[in-house]
């Protein structure tokens, strides 16, 4: 038995797909995640991912590319959240909650239709918790171009977005339309969580979005280096998780552990380690 990499890891086609899509997701999530944590929109990120599950269920029902369904529903939810001009943080929280409740209700209905019309009871679990080794390779070009587009958009609006995230009043004084920017940012967030929902599932995509970014912001306060660190942490966790999950087929014969578990566990350990590192340095 090999200690690090079990045989056939790099030659297996599902693993290659998982490594490519997972890597792309980690990069986009890391960059967008830093803004999400700075803006205090972890809940919105999580809610968009949860609501996008309704899109996953819908595309399952219609038999279309799941990425299109997930993204479409996330964009609708993003527009719903920003529809009312919201000044106070608590009110934003509430609006997110209402949209989330309605979206989850819709998701329940569509999954019910999936189960009754296709008699495939596994749909709920696949949509909610993802199945990385079952990603169709045909999805790679679309996923990577969407991810690349999101990164490009972030670099174009980098300065105004950062300014409005750190100090909204100052940004407004300088003539930046913060409301339009917030809307645009939520759309980018939808893109990032949709990609993550493909890989680790709708409910766990929050881990990839928030975990590496929060860890990175513990280590450094400068936004650019935080983004770089978040991307690296995300990549290590995702690829490490895929490797561990692949190897786990050999630990417990004939039965693999879920990839999502390993990815989340690695991210969680990184966050705890960073927190303690700060404490030791502080003393």
């Amino acid at each position: 038995m090999n200690l690090l990499v079990e045989p056939g890891f790099f030659t297996s086609a599902p693993v290659q797909t998982a490594l490519i899509v997972g890597g792309g997701t980690a990069i986009v999530s890391g960059v967008v995640g830093v803004f999400t944590v700075i803006r205090g929109q972890s809940f919105a990120g999580h809610a968009l991912a949860d609501v996008s599950s309704a899109g996953g269920a819908l595309s399952f029902l219609l038999g279309i590319n799941p990425l299109i369904g997930l993204l479409g529903m996330a964009l609708v939810a993003a527009i719903g959240m920003e529809m009312i001009d919201i000044r106070r943080a608590r009110e934003r929280d509430l609006m997110t909650g209402i949209v989330l409740g309605a979206g989850l209700g819709l998701s329940a209905l569509l999954l019910y239709f999936d189960v009754t019309t296709h008699s495939t009871t596994g749909a709920a679990i696949t949509v909610m918790f993802g199945s990385m080794f079952a990603i169709p390779p045909a999805i790679i070009p679309l996923a990577l171009s969407l991810g690349g587009g999101a990164l490009l958009a972030i670099f174009v609006i980098y300065r105004p977005l950062l300014l409005s995230s750190l100090d909204k009043e100052l940004a407004e004084v300088m003539g930046i339309n913060t409301r339009r920017l917030a809307m645009f940012y939520l759309m980018l967030l939808s893109l990032a969580v949709t990609l993550a929902a493909m890989t680790v599932g709708a409910v766990l995509s929050t881990a990839l979005l928030i975990g590496p970014a929060a860890t990175a912001l513990r280590l450094t306060k400068r936004p650019l280096s935080a983004m770089l660190a978040a991307v690296i942490i995300g990549l290590v966790a995702t690829w490490g998780g895929i490797l561990l999950a692949y190897n786990s087929y050999y630990w417990t014969p004939g039965h693999g552990w879920p990839v999502s578990f390993f990815i989340v566990a690695l991210i969680f350990v990184a966050y705890l380690a960073a927190t303690h590192l700060i404490r030791i340095k502080g003393r």
Binding site: D93, G101, L104, G105, A108, L111, T121
Partner: protein, 264 residues
Amino acid sequence: MFSSFMINTWIVVTLVAVVAGLVGFFIVLRGASFAAHALPLGTFPGAALAGLLGINSFIGLIVFAGVGVAGINQLAKNGRHEVATALTLVMLLSLGTVFLSIGSQYSQQVYALLFGEVLGVSRAELLPVAAISILATGLTVRLFYPLILSSVSAELADVQGISAKKMELWFLAILALATAMALPVVGALLVFSLMVGPAAVARTLISRPVPAVLLSVAIALFTVWLAIALSYETNWPVGFFVGGFGALFYALAKGWQAFRRGGK
């Protein structure tokens, strides 16, 4: 719809709605929607683990709700509250994926835990639900004013000798109790809709606390009764109606508020 096997269902959802309306008011007041969403969702693996070990699922739910509260509280000590909530949630959920993959349970059960299974509540399930709802309601009523004070102004509460941190812990504990109780009935994803929707409507229409709480409970009862009746007729999941009505009522309340302001 009111045949003998539905009696238990009507009793259980009534209890759940009363507690949800009551607790929901504080969730809206404190802006704690994320915690209210994360605790039920993070508690759901407890039921999966209990199924794996063959013990009563309530024990699993209570234990995981406790772990969730401790996790949020501990991580929030040195970090942002919502980051702590997010990380606690995903860690608990990922444990859930492991339990599910080991247990190879029927995915129908998972679906029921996520989205609720109100039709066919057994008599054995009735007793713990009643006990926990009395406990949660009692705690909320007992801590009503300190909770409101610490939600509205932490400084003011501090002056009166009320520790905001202690109140936060109490609030999370009540939330966890309500969660563990409501979860097997209305499902992990929709406990939350029932808590936030009616309370948000009540807060929009009335600002005085006691009438707002009463209105919130009344709307929660109306929502859940209507949802059950419609679900019984159409066979569609209850959660769809609960979430949909929550958003619809909130939109109506916001419209009414705007109309009244415009009229003045």
